[in-house]
Amino acid sequence: MSIVDRAETAFESGELTIARWINVLALFGLIGVLAGSLFLQFGVGEQPCPLCLVQRSGMIAIAVGPIMNLLWGMRPMHYALSILGAMVGSAGSVRQILLHIEPGDPGYGPAVFGLHLYTWALVTFAIAIVGCAFMLLWTKTFEAGDTGVVDQRGFLRFAAFVGIAWVTIDLLIVGISVVPECGLGMCPDNPADIQGLGGVGGVLMTIAVGAVAVIVAAIADRRMSSKPSESV
């Protein structure tokens, strides 16, 4: 079977659609992690430590792969970037785990389901590496000549746009919130807690960010739909 035949088979069998949905779900998984960290920062008032910021950078780096897959088309290089991002992020997680490895050390920050956030971050990075490796095994999706979801009208494109917009807004919030905490210099190793918005305020903030992402995605989806050159 030639590469062209295999590519056509991938399209016909819907494998490309499944791969795209997996990328969208991966984005929403990362959004969950980033939203959780922003809830702790703005809802509870826990300022992120420098190692926490490195791990957030790793999470954002993982998101680069799925976003490029959805906007540019499936390519092995995009998954490779996610794997590299997960490895850099896990370096920060492992460093922080080792700092609190001694018996009796209470760890840094609150624990969720018995594990601290940096341990959960390492679990997330490991899942991302394994997930990308499995997606790389799925070679048929790369032979399909995919050009992304931009020209594909439908709910998948809208969901992809929501995920991409949400991650981008989270990135902007994380980036801007670094300024009052660290200024332009080095961040403090143990930043002081701030007055948080409270549990309800944190949830409302998360919902508001999601709502803005949906609005941005709807506008982008509408603009793409009104393009005359679109191939439906």
């Binding site: 420098p50 950078s57 490029m68 994380v174 660290c182």
Partner: protein, 50 residues
């Protein structure tokens, strides 16, 4: 310093949205810079006696 890391990621995202060829290169640069910042913040010793 940490702000620069996120400025780089914002540039990467802008590059993706405008389909720029330099995106993978800048993404790798951002990762290397993240590692450099991690190294700069490695001030406390790990409490293990290897």
């Amino acid at each position: 310093m940490m702000l620069s890391m996120f400025i780089l990621w914002i540039a990467v995202f802008l590059g993706i949205f405008f389909r720029q060829k330099w995106v993978p290169v800048l993404a790798v640069v951002s990762l290397v810079w993240t590692l450099a910042l991690l190294r700069l913040h490695m001030t406390d010793p790990i409490p293990l006696n290897f």
